[in-house]
Each structure stands twice: as structure tokens, then as C-alpha cells.
Amino acid sequence: MSSFWSRFGKRAESSVADPNLVISVQGLTRTFGKFTAVADVSLDVRSGEIFGILGPNGAGKSTTIRMLCGIIKPSRGQGTVVGIDLLRQPERVKQHVGYMTQRFSLYEDLTVRENLEFYAGIYNVPYRRRGEVLDQAIERAGLEAFRRRVTGELSGGWKQRVALACATLHQPSLLVLDEPTANVDPVSRRAFWSRIHAVAAGGTAVLLTTHYMDEAERCHRVAFVARGQLLDIGTPAELVARRGLEVTELVASDAKQAESALSGLAGVEDLVRYGDVLRVTTRGIQRPLDVVKALLESQAIGVLRAESRLAGVEDAFISMLSPQERVAMGGAT
């Protein structure tokens, strides 16, 4: 109880060289019995940065986030979050982190303002400043018209706004979003992303997990995780470039035959059929468009149309997964 009053607003003494480094962890590992949920994860996230973690279910995304929030203790590794030692004082991290889940975790029987007021109390916003802080949060989220509405009556998009307002009420140094847009419509998703960028522009580091590839492309940097391991980290462009992938889309006279013909070709990373369009991802093949066309024509399969496409984050990510994981990601084999 002694450190009770000194908690609010106090930034822990920073032992890190770079003061902009909000997350700095090395070799973070968490085991549950014999099972290793997260192995040897090292990350640096700076303030103002939007950092995405992309991975299939069970890849260790949640465990990683939970370690970074101070909810579960790492089994091995070291690091700081907001300058606080994650192994020695995980509890103290919580005051400086805002957290939002995909379920939004609001009290649906309370009004918008009451929800905000609750989180203001939980995060020790002083009584003197409370009215002001709440009004600002309501204004920022554009919730003026809804402040007295019971949260349960709001639509998914509005609930998300309230949840984000709750999570950022205490102006955290780090905002953690666990699959934030899983339950909202596309219009709300766009609005949400513009608010996330606004939050980051204010100097908050944003860490989020997602299944959506287009969302991963909106992050400043992305980490690919699978099997509890970090596969790669970089800007979306870097991640794509590093894979050296080339994509060819074509329509063949017989899509099934074309598929089986191409699956034998060396250098084909991924092969997906959408209706009669075949998407061929290759690596290390010079002029893949010509090679693919020639192969099909040599087997008497007509090519009606064929063009090169730019490889995206999705292609880069899929190419790093095992076939089983591709199934787990949603049948993209």
C-alpha cells in the first residue's frame, strides 16, 4: 500500500539508453509445463510507432502480449516496458499500458460516461482532473451525443470507440490492442484506424495483433509469429522484399489441370485457385510469367490470360508458414 499514491503519473526511472524505446525485450520465453508458448522473442518498439503482430491462432500472440502487459511473468529473457523491468516489477507496467480486447470488455449496463469514469478511477486519475479528462476523452472519441446512453445499446463500431476511449483515458505510453477490429464493420474499421494513427502521432506506442493482412500493411512495422517463434520483423515493404516473391495470376483453359501441372514446378511457393483464377507465387524463377506460360502450353493447357502482380504482406507471410499452419490461418493453401 505504500507506493499507492506515488503511482499515478510517475514514469519509472529509465535504464534504457534510448528514451523513445517503449518496449525493449530480449529472448522473452514462456513455457507452460513442457509446452513452450513463446520462444526467444526479441522486440523493440518506439513511441509513436504502430507495431503489428501477425500470426495464426495458437502462434503465441496472446501470450506475448500478456507478458508485455505484465499479466504473466516470462520464464526466461529480459527487457523493459515503459522503462520498467518486466521480470522484477511486472505489476508496475500495468499503470502505463492501455489494453483493449476484441470483445471490448465494457460494462454494458453502464452508460458511456460511467464506463469512462470507472476506468478513470481504476487508473488513478485524480478527482480534481477527472471531469476535464473525461470530457476530453468523450470529445476525442466523438461520443458527445452518447455520453448518457447505456453502452449495451450501442452498435459494434460505437462500442469500439468507447472501449478505445477507456483504454487511452489515462494517456498510456503503450496501447495494446488484441484483434481490435474483429467485431466491427468495414466503415468503422477505417475510422478506427485513423484514430489509431492519431493516438500514435501523439507519441503513444501501439502494439496490436491481427488476422487481417490489409491491417498489417497499415502498421509501421510488423512481426510474423508462428509456433511461438518470431519469424521476421520489419516494415511491410521490407518483409515482402526479403521474401523475393513474385506473383503470377492466370486463367487457364482447365484450371484443375493447370494446378496439378504447376505444383510440380521447382520454385513454386504457393498455389491458390480462386474460381478459375490461379494465383502462383514463385521464388527464384527468372521471368516467372513466361516460365509458367511455357510450362502450361507445353502440356497443351491453354492460357487465356496471365499477368504479374505485386507480392503483398499476405504472400510473404503465407510463404513462411508450414502447410498445416496455412490451414489454421483459414484454408489458404
Binding site: T101, Y107, E114, E117, F118, A120, G121
Partner: protein, 373 residues
């Protein structure tokens, strides 16, 4: 402290908005007090009785009349043959039969023992003991009187060698409701306190808000105390409702200090709330929480001494009953309301309540930690 208050305030707000819980608070106590006060009456009277009088004499009729005058027996008919009694017993139309032999009056006249046979349906042991006890004491009193009358001409004034003078203190009218109603306070509190807290925690789990709280700086202790505190208030409201209803409807006496009762109730209420917390760690949904609380109600009714005296229980059951907060509060509330007990006489119960509270809090927070890891 700020976080604790924030949790308590939020909980109160949710409570106020929840009509069902709100009515639960006031309506359930009233229903229970009426049910237990009126219906769960263990005063046995008006046992249906038949008479098989082979003698048909003035003496035999006189004895039957005076037995009926005790109020315990309602003579619903007379029969001519023995086997008719059996038929009536089997039909459930009578539970007791008086059988008078044809030599009853002549035996009385000749100074021999005149026998009255009392046949009782033993299915309900409580009826057996009351039926035989009443008849036995009445006949004994009659016998004494006749013996004295016979001896007086020869010996002059005679005194009975022994006499029992029963003097009942506290609840002198032996009213069942006086005994039961104070207990209802405890029964209602143990049910609602346990149920409401376990539901409150399960609700947070169900809606995902518990996950959110775990990420926040709220400590386990702050969360538990903050969530429990508003229910203490509800506990006191319920207690007051039952006390007033008991006083107005059933004329339950309040001999001792109400302040003492309200003070000691705090230990009981918090212990029940902590038990609710503990039980909530076993429930994933609100529905499960309700089921577990109802399961918990059963030993409270059976073992606490609310319906059956703990003295009559076998040793293991008595030990188990000590672990229930209700057992101790029952002694407190009956002691204060009916006998005017003071703190010094109730300190044992207080110590028990505090120990239960401590154990429940410790176990609950251990279980909490486990569930979250």
C-alpha cells in the same frame, strides 16, 4: 483506495440498474419469512383420532373427553371393530386410536387397573412422541388425583412425593415462529450474499471484463473488497426487512441490543460474502454460480440448527456445521433477540465467524491467482 472506491461505485451502479437483483433483495426475504413463519410449523396439534369404545361407560367417555380437551387429539369418529382402525390408518384418515376394553368401568369401580390402549401410526416419529407423551401425562395426573382421593380418608392430608414444575424462560408460549423467524434473517443472508457475490464475479468473467481488469493496475484485494462492499449494504437492508416483518407479523420479541446484533451481523455478512467469492472461482457462468449457491444452501438449512437442533446431530455433522457461518449467526441472532445475550456471551461465535472469514478470503485469493495464471 481510489481504485477500490471505483470498483465499489461501479458495482453499486450496476446493482441499481439490475431490477431483478433489486427485487431479489426485498421480495425474497418477505416470501421466506411468510413461508417459514406460517407453513413450516412444527407445532403438532389436532392429531386425527378414532375411538373404539367396547365399554361405552360414563368413565370411558369421560377419559376420552378429557384427552380431547388437551387439544392434541381431534376425535374424528368412532369405530366398532379393531380392523376398522387399520383401514383408517392406511387411508391416512386417522393417526391415533384410543381403545377402551369392555371391563374399563368395572375395573375403575373395583379399584383395579383400568387399561386404555393407545395405538399410534409410527410413520411420523414426531407424532408418536407427542401423542404418547400427552396421553401419558394426562393419565398420570388422573391417577395421582384418584389415589390421593382414596388415601385421604385413611391417612388425612397426603402430599405427592415428587413434582416437576416446568418453567419455560424465553419464548414462554413456545411459539414456533418466535424460534424460526430470527433464523430466517441468517438463512436469507447466507443465500443472497453467497449468490450475489458469486454471480457478480461470474458476470465479469462471462462478459470478458475480468480480463480487462487483470490488465489494469487493480490489485486482487482491491477488486475483491470493492466488489463485496456494496453487498454489505444490501445485507443490512435485508436484515432490517426481516426484522420489521418478524416484529409486525409474528410478534417476535427483541430482548437484547439491536446495535449488538447489527454489529455482529457485519462479521457474518462479510464471511458469507467471502464464501461467495470462493464459490465463484468454481463457476464460469452466472448460471453455474446460482447452482453452486443453491447447493450451498442445503447444508445451511439442514446442519446449522435452523430446523433441527445441532445437539441431535452425529459428531461429524456437528463439525461440519461449525464451518458454516450461518450456524454461528443463528446462535447470535437467537441469543440476542430471544434471550438478550450480550457480547461476552457470544464471543465464541464471533471468533468462529472471523476465522471462517479469514480462511475464505485466503482460499479465494489463492484460487483467484490460479484461475488467472
Amino acid at each position: 483506495m481510489m481504485r477500490l472506491l471505483a470498483v465499489a461505485r461501479k458495482e453499486l451502479r450496476q446493482l441499481r440498474r439490475d431490477r431483478i437483483t433489486f427485487s431479489f433483495m426485498v421480495v425474497v426475504p418477505l416470501i421466506q419469512i411468510l413461508l417459514f413463519g406460517y407453513a413450516a410449523n412444527t407445532d403438532v396439534r389436532h392429531i386425527r383420532t378414532v375411538v373404539l369404545d367396547h365399554d361405552q361407560s360414563a368413565q370411558s367417555r369421560d377419559l376420552v373427553r378429557s384427552l380431547e380437551a388437551t387439544g392434541m387429539y381431534d376425535v374424528v369418529g368412532s369405530v366398532q371393530r379393531y380392523d376398522e382402525i387399520e383401514t383408517l390408518f392406511r387411508r391416512g384418515e386417522a393417526r391415533v386410536a384410543f381403545v377402551v376394553a369392555d371391563d374399563f368401568a368395572s375395573n375403575v369401580r373395583r379399584g383395579r387397573t383400568a387399561n386404555l390402549q393407545l395405538i399410534v401410526d409410527g410413520s411420523d416419529p414426531q407424532i408418536v412422541s407427542i401423542a404418547t407423551f400427552t396421553a401419558g401425562s394426562l393419565v398420570a395426573a388422573r391417577t395421582n388425583e384418584m389415589l390421593m382421593n382414596r388415601l385421604r380418608p385413611a391417612l388425612g392430608a397426603v402430599a405427592l412425593p415428587f413434582a416437576v414444575e416446568p418453567l419455560v424462560w424465553y419464548n414462554g408460549e413456545l411459539k414456533n415462529s418466535t424460534y424460526v423467524v430470527p433464523g430466517i434473517i441468517g438463512l436469507i443472508l447466507s443465500l443472497t450474499m453467497v449468490m450475489l457475490t458469486s454471480m457478480a464475479i461470474a458476470r465479469e468473467r462471462e462478459r470478458g471484463t475480468l480480463e480487462q481488469l487483470m490488465v489494469s493496475p487493480v490489485r486482487r484485494g482491491e477488486l475483491i473488497v470493492g466488489k463485496i462492499a456494496p453487498y454489505v449494504l444490501i445485507g443490512y437492508v435485508q436484515m432490517t426487512v426481516v426484522l420489521i416483518a418478524g416484529r409486525v407479523i409474528f410478534d417476535v420479541p427483541i430482548v437484547g441490543s439491536l446495535w449488538l446484533l447489527y454489529g455482529l451481523a457485519f462479521a457474518f455478512i462479510t464471511a458469507s460474502l467471502a464464501l461467495g467469492m470462493l464459490l465463484s472461482t468454481f463457476a464460469r457462468t452466472q448460471q453455474q454460480a446460482v447452482q453452486i449457491s443453491l447447493l450451498f444452501l442445503l447444508p445451511n438449512v439442514m446442519l446449522s440448527g435452523f430446523l433441527y437442533p445441532t445437539e441431535a446431530m452425529p459428531e461429524p455433522a456437528r463439525w461440519l456445521s461449525q464451518a458454516l457461518p450461518f450456524t454461528h449467526f443463528l446462535r447470535i441472532v437467537r441469543g440476542i433477540l430471544l434471550r438478550g445475550s450480550e457480547l461476552a456471551q457470544l464471543q465464541n461465535e464471533l471468533v468462529w465467524l472471523c476465522s471462517i472469514l479469514l480462511c475464505a478470503v485466503m482460499l479465494a485469493s489463492l484460487r483467484f491467482r490460479k484461475r488467472l495464471a
